[in-house]
């Protein structure tokens, strides 16, 4: 099993870098995962990450990107609810990459 080192603590991740034990998540783990992808997390990133965590908490799934885009638009405004905005924040795919930093599993149906 692969691990990543966050503040001296070894955290277990799967072969694609997603957290194995979702309950271990802390914002520092999200930061550390982003740093490994050369991605600096801004408030705009955190808005999406926090949104995903709330969505997962309520529905027990990570939403598909189409659903995420629509839901973000509704909650955070039309200017953010489009794939251009979300792909600029998360170039590896908004659902996939943001879910990873949020400590969630890969979205259902995501390959």
């Amino acid at each position: 099993m692969a691990t990543i080192n966050v503040n001296g603590q070894e955290i277990e991740v799967d072969e694609e870098g997603y957290l194995v034990d979702l309950s271990q998540w802390t914002p520092e783990i999200g930061e550390a995962m982003a740093k490994m992808d050369d991605c600096e997390l801004t408030d705009a990133h955190w808005e999406v990450i926090n949104f995903l965590r709330e969505y997962y908490d309520e529905y027990q799934i990570a939403p598909a990107v189409r659903v995420l885009t629509k839901a973000i638009g509704k909650k955070l405004g039309k200017d953010k609810g489009n794939s251009k905005y979300l792909y600029e924040l998360f170039p590896y795919g908004p659902a996939k990459q943001a879910c990873k930093y949020a400590g969630l599993p890969k979205p259902t149906g995501c390959v």
Binding site: Q60, I61, P63, A64, V67, G109
Partner: protein, 135 residues
């Protein structure tokens, strides 16, 4: 689009004890990305999948019932529950979760997704479906 098919996912089994209910739900969520005409049917013990207040602590399985509330986000608007199956189990629609979707053609009004139908009506719905996937 002319190649939209009518898909019907038929759910007949209790939510836990077998993997069918969860697998069906995952296939539905994945399939929703293909923009087909999707409907779900719940009958026999499958009606238990939609019950409120599920608690899986005693069996150490994930309670995935909150995920049914996300179906509206995935544009799934037709959820049929068989009347006879509910009655045989002493259940009514009030024992089920309140599932809704937002109708974009009607100013995003929130509408009920669940329709209770008789076995005869469900047979007609099956007859009119292009693809039936049974779980």
């Amino acid at each position: 689009m002319s190649d939209v098919k009518k898909f019907l996912y038929v759910n007949r089994k209790a939510p836990y004890g077998t993997i069918y209910a969860l697998e069906s739900l995952e296939v539905v969520l994945i399939g929703a990305a293909f923009e087909q005409d999707v409907a779900l049917a719940f009958l026999d013990d499958g009606v238990y999948q939609l019950t409120k207040d599920q608690n899986t602590d005693g069996i150490e399985m994930k309670n995935f019932s909150p995920t049914y509330s996300a179906l509206g986000d995935y544009d799934i608007r037709k959820i049929y529950v068989e009347k006879e199956s509910l009655e045989e189990r002493g259940l009514t629609i009030d024992d089920l979760q309140h599932l809704t979707y937002e109708d974009e053609d009607d100013d995003w009004a929130e509408k009920d997704s669940i329709q209770v139908v008789t076995a005869k009506e469900l047979a007609e719905i099956m007859d009119q479906s292009d693809v039936i996937l049974s779980f």
